[in-house]
Structure formats: structure tokens, C-alpha cells
């Protein structure tokens, strides 16, 4: 009896809290039909969205050389790629001898484990922050090279991405050296 009454008090207090500051937020935007405020879904810096390919701005080509390491490391075999000779290398603009010709990720198969990023030797693939990608056609989530580069480029711009191999190693906690993720290095 008394505990039940105590429960009533708890819910009364929580109603007050709910009126003041509800915990949930509107998805994907707030407000109602009269006034809509667009707010992106907040994600953490390390958030792993769908994988995307990065763009080397200095040279003007993808980082990816289609070496197939990620494809072999992928637990779900969701990627395919084709390699070609790099035309820019012949013009001596690029140090990459081979370059990606086509690349496809089936995002319906992808399980967002991040192994492809971990094994990549060329900083060519990233886990972008893109995650709201539902489409209404059956093959809509099979992304090809331009689409992947576009998502990757957006991610690079949004987070001021630095290739992991070029990052300054920040000594931390005595002997420990640790490479920081791009977003973390930039965000306060």
C-alpha cells in the first residue's frame, strides 16, 4: 500500500520532469507541421556509419588502389573492386601506379564492423557518419565508386579528415603513443 503510494509520488515527480525536460527528441527533425526545425541526428565522433572511399585532394584521385585487402577482410563479402593502371602515374602526377577502376559496396550486406578501415594500408576507406540511407528500390543500396567517393568526400569535409598515416602521433600517458581519429583531433 505505502509502496504503491510512493510509486504514485514517483510518477508525479516524473510528470513534472517530463513537462520540463522530456528525454526523447523528435526524429529526424523537431517541431510539428506548423514549425519544423531541421536538426541532424547527433552522432558521436567515432560513430561508424556506412563505409565510403576517400578522395586525395592533393592529386585529385581516390586514395584507393584496389588492393583488395578490405575485400578479403570483410566478414560478409559485401564489396567488389576492379583495378586499373593509373593514367596520372604515367603523367608523373601521382605516385600510385594502380588505381581503383570500379568499386561497389552492397550496403544491405554490410554489417558496419569497421574491419575494412582497420586493414586498409592506403587510408582509402573510412566509416562515414552516413546512416540514414533507406531507399525504395531493390538495388538502391548498392553504391558504386562515384557515390562512395561522394559520401567519403562529404565525410572528409565535415570532419576535416587527415589520413591516419599522416597524423601526428600524440604521446599520451607516458610511453603510450596513440593515433587519434580525425574528428577527435579537430573537435574540442
Amino acid at each position: 500500500m505505502f509502496n504503491s503510494l510512493k510509486g504514485l509520488v514517483v510518477t508525479l515527480v516524473s510528470t513534472m520532469n517530463g513537462l520540463r525536460a522530456p528525454v526523447t527528441r523528435q526524429y529526424p527533425d523537431s517541431g510539428n507541421l506548423l514549425g519544423k526545425r531541421d536538426e541532424p541526428t547527433p552522432v558521436k565522433d567515432r560513430f561508424m556509419g556506412f563505409p565510403a572511399l576517400t578522395w586525395d585532394d592533393e592529386v585529385g584521385e581516390p586514395f584507393c588502389t584496389s588492393c583488395m585487402v578490405c575485400i578479403r577482410g570483410c566478414p560478409t563479402q559485401c564489396m567488389t573492386s576492379v583495378m586499373k593502371d593509373n593514367p596520372l602515374h604515367e603523367q608523373e602526377k601521382s605516385s600510385r601506379r594502380k588505381i581503383v577502376d570500379s568499386f561497389e559496396i552492397n550496403l544491405n550486406r554490410c554489417i558496419l564492423c569497421g574491419i575494412c578501415v582497420e586493414v586498409c594500408n592506403f587510408d582509402a576507406i573510412v566509416m562515414s557518419h552516413e546512416h540514414e540511407m533507406s531507399t525504395s528500390n531493390r538495388n538502391g543500396d548498392r553504391l558504386d565508386l562515384p557515390a562512395l567517393l561522394e559520401i567519403g568526400f562529404k565525410f572528409q569535409k565535415d570532419t576535416d579528415w587527415i589520413p591516419p598515416t599522416k597524423r601526428v602521433k600524440v604521446p599520451k600517458g607516458g610511453a603510450a603513443e596513440e593515433s587519434k581519429t580525425p574528428a577527435e583531433a579537430e573537435s574540442p
Partner: protein, 384 residues
């Protein structure tokens, strides 16, 4: 309404009656819409959620959107169901819910047809709805539905008795079964003050009568997945929904009329009293929502035991108290004292009944504490 009366009334009266019924239907539908919105919003805020927000400012158009969606939805009738019963069950439920409102007064004049035996009529009609639920459960040829229908029959009939008994004791206080007279009888003091036990019994039995938490046993979502309503969809389901909310509103209105002086209140006279009436009714409904947000659900055997072992004897007690009070013409405070004593007794009974497990828990905890103290004696290797 018997045919002889219909023949006796003039054409003008008849047209007026039709218009009044239409107004009642629309008003009740509006009330149901407001209640669905209110329930979702109140429960949302209680659970730190937002509740409906998309449709209109503060989601005010949500009930309309719901209603539209339900009407446009396909009305599925199971192949193996008893078609006629399946069809007629929701209609029985909703008609009995609407019929109650013919005689519930909003103010002295805001009533379709005031009956001298108003309270009797209401109680009689509220039982009819049970038939609809049982038919719905059985007619839908679903085992969950059958279980739910039978649960509904057991639960609602059991809790009808305390409601009747308390209503009788209130009628004895007012010396009338006419709801207007009952409200007028509360001019000096509202009956809640002299019969708190009656209020407690009436409110609890009312909750069970409309199947509100903690008595939402006959359609318990987590056990029998909606009970009698499990096979219903679209418009048919919305009719059940309508009836449920009208009944909730009716129970709240009856609580207000019997115990809180109906439309009487300081400042407002005449038909303006309806503001007080609605205010009180909505407050009672808010309490119902509040309870819904707090309590778990009882089990069917516990529910029945509670009805027959606590509610029924206590409701007889209210009649005895009121009768003694009326017969000897004692002052009002004596009934208050008696009733409060009764309430305390009920409280103690419930407390004893319900805290038996709680006591067990306390005992267990002390045993556990002793055990842990014992275990801690040989020091379990602590941190560095």
C-alpha cells in the same frame, strides 16, 4: 424507451429529442477525441516522452488522424468467425455505452431525458456492455479472444456488485435515484466528505468496470494480446475504442455526480455549472491516467479474490452505515467517522493482504543480510 411513451409525445418533442441525441453523440465523440489525445500526452509526459507532436500544434489533430486511419483501414473479418456475432458485438458495446449518457446530467438542464430512476437505469445498461465483450471474444474464434471475453464476464460482473451497493448507499443519502436530486442533495456538503469509503470503493470498482490499469485484465496486452479485441481491426475496433473511452468518461462523471457535487461550485450558477462539471470530470480522468502510468496489472485470481473478499463486504458495510445514519438521524460527522473507520479498515485489510509478500521480502532481506554478514567474515580478497 417504451413505445407508449413514444406515442404519447408530440412531434415537436420528438424532433427535439432527435436533435438532442445528435448533440449528445457529437459531444461524446468530441470528448473521446480529447481523451485519447489527453491520455497519450499525459502518459508521454509521465514517461519523459513527448507524446504526439506531428499533427497540428502539440499533436492536437492526432485523434482525428487516428480516427481517419481507422475508418479507412480494411475491416478484416476472420474466416472462421461467427460473422453475425462478430458484427453485432461492437454495436452492443457502444450502444450500451451511449445509452448511459441519455440520463447523465451535465447541469440541472443539460440532460436528454432525466429519469427518476436514473441511477438504476445507468447500472442496468452498464451490464449490457459485458454481453458485447463476451460475444466479441467468442465470435472472433480466437483462443485469446475467448479467454479475454470470459475474463471480461467474470471481472465486470464481480465489480458490478460493489458499484451497485455504493450507488444504493448514495441514493439512500440523497433519498432519490434521480441524479439531479443526488447532486442537489449535496448542497450542504459533498458526499465525499461523509462517505469517503464509498468513494474509494466506487472509484476502484469503476476502474475495474472500464478495464483500466491495474485492472486491465480482460485485454491485457502482454498476456492475451488484446483479449476480445484481438481479431478486430479498422472501424470495428475503433467502435470498441469509442465505447471504452465513453465508459471511462461515464465512470468519472458518475464519481463526480455521486461524490463531488456534480456541477455545483462557488461563483457559477445555472448552466454555467457545466464548467465545474467538466473540470471535475477531467480531473478524475487525469487521476485514472496517473494510476495507469504507475501500476502493474493484477492477475485474474487476485482480482476476483479482491472483489469478493474485500470490495463486496465493504460495499455492504457502506449500506449498513448509511442506513444506521439515516435511521437514527445522527449528525453528518458521525457518518464521516464511521466511513473513515471503514476506509481505514479496508486499508488495513488490503495492506495485510497485499503486504504479505512484502513482509516475506523483508524477512528474506534480513535473512540475506545475516547471510552476507556471515559470508563477509572471511575477508574476500579486496582491491589493491
Amino acid at each position: 424507451m417504451p413505445a407508449t411513451i413514444l406515442l404519447a409525445i408530440s412531434l415537436g418533442d420528438f424532433i427535439w429529442l432527435v436533435i438532442a441525441l445528435f448533440i449528445m453523440f457529437s459531444a461524446l465523440s468530441g470528448v473521446v477525441l480529447s481523451l485519447t489525445w489527453l491520455e497519450r500526452k499525459v502518459l508521454g509526459r509521465l514517461q519523459l516522452r513527448l507524446g504526439p507532436t506531428r499533427t497540428g500544434p502539440m499533436g492536437l489533430m492526432q485523434p482525428v488522424a487516428d480516427a481517419l486511419k481507422l475508418i479507412l483501414k480494411e475491416d478484416i473479418i476472420p474466416a472462421s468467425s461467427e460473422k453475425a456475432l462478430f458484427w453485432v458485438a461492437p454495436i452492443i458495446v457502444v450502444i450500451s455505452a451511449f445509452m448511459i449518457w441519455v440520463t447523465i446530467p451535465g447541469t440541472q438542464n443539460a440532460v436528454i431525458q432525466n429519469l427518476d430512476l436514473g441511477l438504476f437505469y445507468i447500472i442496468a445498461f452498464s451490464v449490457v456492455g459485458i454481453l458485447g465483450l463476451v460475444l466479441a471474444g467468442w465470435g472472433s474464434a480466437n483462443k485469446y479472444g475467448t479467454l479475454g471475453g470470459l475474463r471480461a464476464a467474470a471481472q465486470l460482473i464481480s465489480y458490478e456488485i460493489p458499484i451497485i451497493m455504493v450507488a444504493i448507499s448514495m441514493a439512500m443519502l440523497a433519498q432519490s435515484l434521480d441524479l439531479r436530486e443526488i447532486v442537489n442533495g449535496q448542497d450542504d456538503y459533498i458526499y465525499f466528505l461523509i462517505q469517503p469509503l464509498g468513494l474509494a470503493l466506487f472509484f476502484i470498482a469503476g476502474l475495474a468496470e472500464v478495464g483500466r490499469t491495474p485492472f486491465d485484465i480482460y485485454f491485457a496486452e502482454s498476456e492475451i494480446v488484446g483479449g476480445p479485441f484481438v481479431e478486430y481491426s479498422g472501424a470495428h475496433w475503433s467502435v470498441f475504442f469509442l465505447a471504452e473511452y465513453i465508459n471511462t468518461f461515464a465512470i468519472a462523471a458518475l464519481t463526480v455526480i455521486l461524490f463531488f457535487g456534480g456541477w455545483s461550485g462557488p461563483g457559477l450558477t445555472g448552466d454555467w455549472g457545466i464548467i465545474y462539471f467538466l473540470l471535475k470530470v477531467y480531473l478524475v480522468i487525469m487521476v485514472i491516467f496517473w494510476i495507469r502510468g504507475t501500476f502493474p496489472r493484477l492477475r485474474i485470481d487476485q482480482l476476483m479474490a479482491f472483489a469478493w473478499k474485500v470490495m463486496v463486504p465493504m460495499s455492504f458495510l457502506t449500506i449498513v452505515m448509511t442506513a444506521v445514519y439515516q435511521f437514527y438521524g445522527w449528525p453528518a460527522w458521525s457518518l464521516t467517522a464511521m466511513s473513515t473507520t471503514g476506509l481505514v479498515v479496508v486499508g488495513i485489510v488490503i495492506y495485510k493482504k497485499m503486504t504479505a509478500p512484502s513482509k516475506l521480502v523483508a524477512e528474506t532481506r534480513s535473512r540475506r543480510a545475516a547471510l552476507e554478514a556471515q559470508r563477509r567474515l572471511p575477508a574476500t580478497g579486496g582491491g589493491d
